[in-house]
Subunit: 107 residues, 2 copies
Amino acid sequence: MGEVKHLCLVRFKEGVVVEDVLKGMADLVAEMDMVKSFEWGQDVLNQEMLTQGFTHVFSLTFASADDLAAYMGHEKHAAFAATFMAALEKVVVIDFPVVIAKPPPPA
Amino acid sequence: MGEVKHLCLVRFKEGVVVEDVLKGMADLVAEMDMVKSFEWGQDVLNQEMLTQGFTHVFSLTFASADDLAAYMGHEKHAAFAATFMAALEKVVVIDFPVVIAKPPPPA
């Protein structure tokens, strides 16, 4: 069994200070050992027809589905999720086992 | 300047043979040297409220924004994209420079 990703695409509500949300997320993830890695990004091409208004991506990687479940069920995640969701105008969340179709070249 | 990702969340039309689409995408990516890596996955939690009906994620990683631009502008990508888009009921595409907030532990 390989890695599992928890991916969120979001658009924040007007007036939300994205840096504050990011700080909260980074702090949470830093203390949650079952989160193997965390990366995020902001859309740069701004092709509204393709982005459907979504502006940010947050991607958490777990070593297993059990680790993902442990994270999702953790009370600190629940507390953060409530704050996070309240800051969003729209969101899509997908959880998926990662299939590597083309591996990165050796470093 | 770090990596750039081209991320697609999709829901296929009824009747589409996903394996065929995947085969086409893997073949394209295999011969496009500017694509550093390619991974994909299918949502497993099926929480309709969160997935908004999206079922699959496709993630292409590039070493630079220039490589992404070269891929997007390549005639083989254009040919594939036309076929790909025709197979989709809905799609969101986000292109973003990757910010690594929590790096994976050393292997």
